[in-house]
Symmetry: C2
Subunit: 208 residues, 2 copies
Amino acid sequence: MTASLYCFGESGNAYKAALTMTLSGYDWTPVFVDFFHGETRTPEFRAINPMGECPVFVENDVTLAQSGLIQLHIAGLTGQFQGDDAAEVLRWLFWDNHKGSSQFGALRFMKHFLPAEKRSDAVIGWLSGRVEAALATLEAHLASREWIVGATPSIADFACAGYLFYPETFGFDPVRFPATGRWLERIRALPNWAHPYDMMPGHPSERA
Amino acid sequence: MTASLYCFGESGNAYKAALTMTLSGYDWTPVFVDFFHGETRTPEFRAINPMGECPVFVENDVTLAQSGLIQLHIAGLTGQFQGDDAAEVLRWLFWDNHKGSSQFGALRFMKHFLPAEKRSDAVIGWLSGRVEAALATLEAHLASREWIVGATPSIADFACAGYLFYPETFGFDPVRFPATGRWLERIRALPNWAHPYDMMPGHPSERA
């Protein structure tokens, strides 16, 4: 049986898992989750993932939530994109979850997906400062490196880049963060790379 | 040589590492970082951790940042608090970093440590909603369990509880989240448990 990934196109967290599987040649099928109509809050979805979040990976008797865990699972199964140094990979997965994607995703959501009347300039300003600091950390790290860990692409790259390919802007600009921009081009050039909106069902235009 | 932990009392993330070492009987010494006077932004500190964050663990030629990684390192060395299921432990470490402590720490900081003129009611309101959702996830998980993973305390417990022992309130209330309150009492009863302000140098009263 093919692995299933509960996901939706707008989710950078789901994309981290989807990209890891696709670049590794792991056979998987997306299962669309209608996040924007509240599906992750339904009892049916909570039965699959009580944390109420995407992505969720299901294959035979294995059900895994949290993108970092799914990435580690796939890297372990395929032996690909594990990186030269397991501790360094974990360090960046935790950093991304704590300081990177958590702010990137929240700011992008508020700026682009939340109804205008629910947006708050104060929250956008506060999150923008945190996003700026995270992008500066990433840029400083990549200034002297081609990949986040060691000399090869790894799941740490796919985690940290999860939100950076999207067209909805939230502070990343390759002119201001050039090393990060070049790194994204390196990821984009990997065989079988695809954009999140081409890899998972669900696109903002469907709600226009 | 004893392990060093760069830390300060107010840091729930540092506490996760400190508590893991202390409960495991791992020999360590705190190195005070004057976060509230900007030490984590200095070139000297960035040379130790370019991410500019506490905690940092240093022992011989090993330097590790990110609390989750330090917790996994200590559990691996000591064989203690690894939990019955490595994937489940990782799932909760990622959840805590992504949805738990990142919001708990930010809201507590804004409510209690940021100068009054820099506080924003809009940001406090927005973060409070996210904290409430995270606490509800934790409460639902603990309603039918004594520990986060399996039948024994693990580093997943110490991660998720990292910010919940502090006196500075940010939304956790054992009356509203009773299963979480009982779980904190179980952690508090573990041999050698100590409060973060008794385990690490640095206390809000020193800045009064």
